[in-house]
Subunit: 319 residues, 2 copies
């Protein structure tokens, strides 16, 4: 297999990279997405970004990952809120521009494939990546294959129920994990405690401006010994624990990796998650699983996109 292009389409920026078959980034470029200017302009920007890194090199295939629900077979983005996409063709315009095979995938699924093929999940057959950011998503590899389901709308761990009659969620449900363990959920929880009159050293930092409160700040304060911040992170970790016990008892994986902005909290987050799984998951499954931090850093998106292309080419060759 030759050189691959990996494209990570985000709401703000397009990250494009040339990568080797071993997932090594050879060159990289960041280009504004231009989502405000509509679908046509976004596709032009993707093609322009790939042209800039490709130059006169031959590439074997292009992997593209996008937020939202992706029809992998048709190469269509069925829906992506932050891109204003509804049933738009992602694959064809890029294939037309470069005359090489193009493979598209949901961004969290792609990140899971990347982490599984080139990161901490290497060598496992059953691997789950959970991304904790503004939202919470996952990508799941079972018996060596990415979980796709009917409409590629799988692994929505952020919208699994961790409190039966819990907080109302944007998805229309209630008590979703995302309401408790996302960056947004952590900030909301801290605000509630502060409004009830509890003390935290974050108060001095934000100086009455609630908008300055972030999950990263709360994680830092927790690491520095602030009791309320520790409690908030522990509660977020326990809710994550509930969702992960359910996944561990369902998928019997070798590894669960945790990534995304909230994962920067490190041990303060992962330690109570591990304890919760040890005490609440079934014995065989708890013994089989390791809970770790994801290992691919800033390049996770483009490496994931390249992994999608590699995986798809391998599957075609296997048929």
């Amino acid at each position: 297999m030759g050189i691959l292009a990996g494209v990570d389409l985000g709401g703000t920026n397009i990250e494009a990279a040339l990568l080797s078959e071993q997932g090594k980034v050879m060159s990289h470029i960041t280009h504004p997405t231009g989502a405000d200017e509509g679908y046509g302009r976004v596709m032009e920007n993707i093609i322009s970004a790939v042209k800039k890194i490709k130059k006169d090199k031959e590439i074997e295939a292009i992997g593209l990952c996008s937020p939202g629900i992706i029809d992998v077979d048709q190469g269509i983005c069925r829906f992506a809120g932050n891109l204003n996409f509804n049933n738009v063709q992602l694959r064809r315009p890029i294939e037309d521009a470069f005359s090489v095979p193009v493979f598209v995938e949901n961004d969290v699924n792609a990140a899971a494939l990347g982490e599984w093929r080139f990161g901490t999940g290497k060598g496992t057959d059953n691997f789950i990546l959970v991304m904790l950011g503004t939202g919470v998503g996952a990508g799941i590899i079972t018996d060596g294959r990415l979980l796709h389901g009917k409409s590629n709308a799988t692994a929505e761990i952020g919208h699994t129920i961790v409190e039966k009659d819990g907080l109302f969620c944007n998805c229309g449900g209630r008590g979703c994990l995302e309401m408790y363990s996302s960056a947004t959920g952590i900030v909301r929880m801290m605000k509630q405690y502060l409004m009830k009159g509890n003390y935290s050293s974050v108060t001095a930092d934000i100086q009455g401006d609630w908008d300055r409160l972030t999950a990263a700040m709360i994680a830092q304060k927790a690491a520095a010994g602030d009791k309320l911040s520790q409690q908030v992170i522990r509660e977020a970790a326990e809710y994550l624990g509930v969702a992960l016990v359910n996944y561990v008892n369902t998928f019997n994986p070798e590894m669960v990796a945790i990534g995304g902005g909230v994962a920067k909290a490190g041990d303060i987050l992962t330690q109570p998650v591990k304890e919760f799984i040890s005490s609440r998951a079934m014995e065989v499954q708890a013994n089989d699983v390791s809970v770790v931090l994801s290992s691919l850093g800033e390049d996770a998106g483009t490496i994931g996109a390249a992994a999608v292309a590699i995986e798809s080419i391998k599957t075609v060759k296997d048929l």
Copy 2:
């Protein structure tokens, strides 16, 4: 493919059948398991049962399903509480006796394969069978393949958490679905309401003997209009709804089938489950899924065991 033997090993009885490739039962026999007399006798009983139905016919393969954690590759039962099995060989003694390929699988997984290949799940690619009996288990087919995980300890929906700080469960966890939606859970819930002084017409039937209270009785009373029985079944259905929303948002299946003794309650159980999924699952996933009752009746076990053999032979031929 020729005639197959399907063997359903249970705690009390061994059910053995000869089946066509189309899953049609040609002959059937019931034989006591003899679990009290130990592993050796159980294996003798299985072989004896297969000999009795086989007579002088040629069979192509034997499928065997067993409760517990099954090492499918090695043909070993790692653990099965009700059979007193700990790391015993299931495959080899049968292969030695009949000189045909033998394939073993967990019983709920086998039932899911049977229901998927020959029952209500036919034609789907993503199918979940949930069995509600004394315990609660599931078998999951994703993208046309049975979910196995690292140790074949997957799909333990009965031990997914539906109440974070809920009732303590035998598995060591808390708030497991099995504590609320199994036959045992339903009986426990009714007892609690009665002990608190609530009225139900079951009281007249059991005449003070709590041991006569069954989930089937409660389901019958609910169908006949008993308010408390209706409430108990609805609560059990809502907890099942929580676990199924989590599965639907995770697997994006075309179909969820509900089987086992508790499923005999029919619409009284499935209607609130469907409503819960409609109102709480994500839109795409809720639209994609049908919730139905399982269709294979008494022969589900042996048909499932035969499906395991068929599936395994097909997989080998595909390689």
